[in-house]
């Protein structure tokens, strides 16, 4: 958690020093901002719900279990005007860096919200749903649009920390977000993919993907997904076969001209202690 917070802060260009103060105690600051607000920013729960479940009719997105890095970047984008929204911009500006990081982390840690009942799809929606599934999983050759899943993960569960989940997100919000990409109110994709993709989609296609993702099961909790590199000790506890003494290998497989394992038919090299030549 500490490591990811530092990475998060540094990724936003925030001093890591700020983040250290956070790691000692539970995220009271984040909880306070979310539930009570601070001077300059109303409580998030007012629109985003007591459990981060958002509000479909109001177009306020679910925040629970969303990537902390993604949420914090959106807040910075709202503050800088890179993402335009009359409600969020003053709120984001009213928070400082430390507060943005804290409240993002708070929402990331929340349990994913499961809808009481799936989003209603009427018979008339069946074609739209099928179209949404196609775009989400395969893309469209004529429009030259790739599958959403390539970046947003299978079923739209997201690929934290970078790509937000879409699964179970409110369809009204998804429609609004795609239109923000389309009309350049939102410019938060450094790769330029999202504006391109949104412009290729008709209103019907936008409605279709929004309907499809709204009906997907939500993402798993974030803690279960963010990979922490295993420490060496864990590997030591799983011995596998006798350890052979170092031997010269013959004809070791070479990838890109690089030996992939072992020594390369030569005597083991001495550790390199020479200084650079200049």
């Amino acid at each position: 958690m500490k490591r990811s917070l530092i990475a998060l802060a540094l990724g936003l260009g925030l001093p890591a020093l700020v983040v250290h103060a956070q790691t000692a105690a539970p995220n009271n600051l984040g909880a306070r901002i979310a539930t009570q607000g601070v001077e300059g920013a109303a409580a998030c729960v007012g629109c985003h719900g007591a459990n981060g479940e958002g509000n479909a009719a109001g177009g306020f997105p679910k925040l629970a279990a969303q990537s902390a890095d993604y949420l914090a970047r959106q807040l910075v984008a709202y503050a800088n005007g890179v993402r335009q929204n009359p409600v969020m911009m003053p709120i984001a500006k009213g928070l400082n860096d430390e507060q943005r990081v804290a409240v993002s982390r708070y929402y990331a840690d929340l349990k994913p919200v499961v809808a009481a009942s799936p989003v209603n799809a009427t018979a008339a929606d069946a074609a739209s749903l099928a179209r949404g599934r196609t775009l989400a999983r395969i893309g469209d050759s004529q429009l030259r649009v790739q599958a959403c899943a390539n970046c947003h993960g299978p079923g739209g569960i997201g690929a934290p920390p970078v790509y937000p989940y879409l699964a179970g997100q409110h369809r009204e919000y998804l429609v609004a977000a795609l239109n923000e990409w389309k009309n350049t109110a939102r410019n938060t994709d450094p790769s330029g993919q999202m504006p391109s993709i949104a412009r290729a989609l008709s209103d019907a296609d936008i409605a279709a993907v929004a309907l499809y993702f709204a009906r997907q099961p939500g993402p798993p909790p974030l803690a279960s997904r963010v990979l922490v590199p295993p420490r060496a000790t864990r590997i030591d506890r799983v011995p596998s076969g006798p350890t052979a003494p170092p031997q010269p290998s013959r004809d070791v497989g070479v990838e890109q001209g690089t030996p992939t394992s072992g020594n390369q038919g030569q005597a083991p090299a001495q550790p390199n202690t020479s200084q650079p030549t200049k």
């Binding site: 993919q193 001209g257 030996p259 072992g262 090299a269």
Partner: protein, 590 residues
């Protein structure tokens, strides 16, 4: 078997990969009716290259799903002519592709122009070092074109692809941060350089410290969305790390499917036939003109397709084989030195250096792309003085990792056991903290390296396989030892705990992957006694056959071949549409 004879068309393309797509477009635009014959399957970005199934390393990297099926057709291989060549049953050293779009679907996108000193290799070396400097066994030849002639075609090809990079020499003016050794170019790259990875930045600082001139590797996996002159839009690369051997799901890699094929497919003058294996080109009785090609379709039916013009664009090795099977040009005999088809076969001389860092340094090799990183050209070709060194040629050196995938990439320091707990421990320790420096070197042609038809082994259609006789020339091993040591200097300056150097060593082993940069066999030149095609890539023997690909390279230079293949394709297409079609016949008098 009955052969169905089809109505004649203006031109037939053998292979619809990069070359077939470019020529198909140029010829249909000129009003010709063109048939494209591709032996592989049709495939498109959507649905065929989409994730998550495209990110299947076992299927695509290890089992080589996009490559030629060796059970149907392969090569036989031997190092020397006194050995018996045996079939390559599993691809290793090189991986011939197949399918619509060809290898440009699964290439890495590394896009470099050959230098003038590469194209005029013989003249240049004689001028600078004297004829005696060239080793006896080396067949060093001029291409018949120079960099100034090819410049507009390189430019055109790069703008078709949308290649991302920074020019180093704009109209004779040196630009800081680009490649100072490149020949003058008229325009900058169509898109800016990609983001630089951390490992490449460490390399850049070390290389600059040693007085070299690092610059961003030119990449045809684009840095930003781009619409090319054909109206095709490409997207930016997402650094997913599944580039070589994979199709790109993001529309970010420049491939025929993303840069041109959809335009060609809309042209009523163009007909695509996939899963059609061409068996031979049929000549008229005088054997001076091609009149048709014979092919077998997916149902096993044989067809004869008459055509006025034949474009052979099947990939270097297959180009050579097609000419040999069709009896076009005199086959090369290394014993006598006579003949031309199969002569001047060359490859690429690859070395590397691994830099092992402390575990606090995260290289993140999985977060890369096919042509992303920083390189130096200080040791490319003849960019440095070879006088005291006793070899010709050179290599570019760069931190351009593209292969950090879980099954394939497990760098460990020398002395690590090859298997077992200790190996696994070392892989865990070093996977994310190792930088690999690539040493990508030239390959000279020598008299005894060549291609011909195997006397024993045949393909699924009963036709002789191509036989490859190749051993690393001493010249190239010397070059690799020298440049890899220079790369190791940079490695040591990068601040790792340990540096392990792997220059290329003989014997050439066809089971170890190196590159698929096979060149030569149908080389271009100004003398029909030592070349198969003239400077316009037209067969000296059969004037309505054009052979286009890396098989035309008289020797291979330090850089990757694709940019030059694309430029030559446009160059040949120009000669065909502006001159040949108006007056069919030899474009160059022998």
């Amino acid at each position: 078997m009955t052969t169905t004879r089809l109505p004649e068309v203006d031109a037939v393309l053998l292979g619809v990969g990069l070359v077939g797509t470019l020529l198909g477009r140029e010829l249909t635009r000129a009003g010709l009716k063109v048939v494209g014959l591709e032996r592989g399957e049709p495939r498109w970005t959507v649905p065929d290259f989409q994730g998550p199934q495209m990110h299947d390393e076992l299927r695509y990297s290890v089992r080589k799903a996009l490559m030629q099926d060796t059970a149907k057709e392969t090569l036989t291989f031997r190092n020397r002519a006194d050995q018996v060549a045996l079939p390559i049953r599993r691809w290793g050293s090189f991986l011939p592709g197949t399918g619509l779009g060809g290898a440009a679907v699964h290439w890495n996108g590394q896009t470099y122009r050959f230098q003038d000193s590469d194209l005029r290799a013989r003249s240049h070396h004689v001028e600078r070092y004297g004829a005696k400097f060239i080793p006896d066994e080396v067949l060093l030849q001029d291409w018949g074109v120079n960099a100034a002639e090819l410049e507009p075609y390189y430019d055109r090809f790069e703008y078709l692809l949308g290649t991302s990079g920074r020019a180093g020499n704009l109209k004779g003016q040196r630009i800081a941060g680009g490649n100072p050794f490149e020949d003058s170019r008229a325009r900058d790259y169509p898109t800016p350089p990609m983001k630089e990875p951390y490992g490449s930045a460490i390399f850049r600082k070390a290389a600059a410290q040693l007085g070299y001139h690092p610059y961003p590797q030119p990449s045809s996996n684009l840095s930003q969305p781009y619409t090319n002159p054909e109206g095709m839009q490409l997207q930016s690369c997402m650094f997913c790390g599944f580039c070589e051997r994979y199709g790109c799901e993001h529309y970010a890699k420049s491939s025929p499917q993303t840069v041109l094929l959809p335009v060609l497919m809309r042209d009523p003058n163009f007909t695509l036939r996939t899963q059609c294996q061409v068996l031979r080109i049929n000549l008229d009785d005088a054997r001076k003109q091609a009149r048709s090609v014979t092919y077998i379709d997916a149902m096993g039916r044989e067809f004869e397709q008459p055509a006025k013009l034949v474009i052979v664009g099947m990939f270097a090795l297959n180009n050579v084989r097609m000419l040999l099977l069709s009896g076009i040009g005199r086959p090369y005999d290394p014993a006598t030195g006579l003949g031309v088809v199969g002569r001047n076969y060359a490859y690429q001389t690859m070395g590397s250096v691994n830099v092992f860092f402390d575990k606090n340094v995260n290289i993140n090799p999985f977060m890369r792309s096919g042509a992303n990183g920083t390189v130096i050209s200080d040791f490319v070709s003849d960019n440095f003085d070879h006088g005291p060194l006793g070899f010709i040629g050179g290599a570019y050196v760069g931190e351009i990792m593209s292969h950090g995938r879980p099954i394939e990439f497990h760098p460990v320091p020398p002395g690590t056991p090859s298997w077992g707990s200790a190996w696994k421990k070392a892989v865990v320790e070093h996977y994310n903290h190792t930088s690999n420096i690539n040493v990508h070197g030239s390959s000279v042609a020598i008299r005894r390296n060549y291609l011909d038809l195997d006397p024993t082994y045949r393909d699924a259609y009963g036709l002789p396989l191509l036989r490859m006789t190749f051993e690393f020339p001493d010249n190239d091993l010397k070059m690799s030892a020298y440049v890899t040591e220079r790369a190791a200097d940079i490695g040591r300056a990068m601040g790792g705990k340990q540096v392990a150097s792997s220059p290329r060593k003989g014997p050439y082993n066809v089971t170890q992957y190196q590159t698929t940069h096979n060149t030569g066999g149908t080389i271009m030149g100004s003398d029909p006694k030592t070349s198969v095609v003239n400077k316009y890539l037209q067969s000296w023997d059969v004037h309505n056959v054009f052979v286009i690909g890396a098989s035309c390279f008289p020797q291979n230079a330090s850089y990757n071949p694709t940019d030059t293949v694309g430029a030559l394709a446009y160059w040949a297409a120009d000669a065909i549409t502006r001159h040949y079609l108006k007056s069919p016949g030899p474009l160059v008098q022998a």
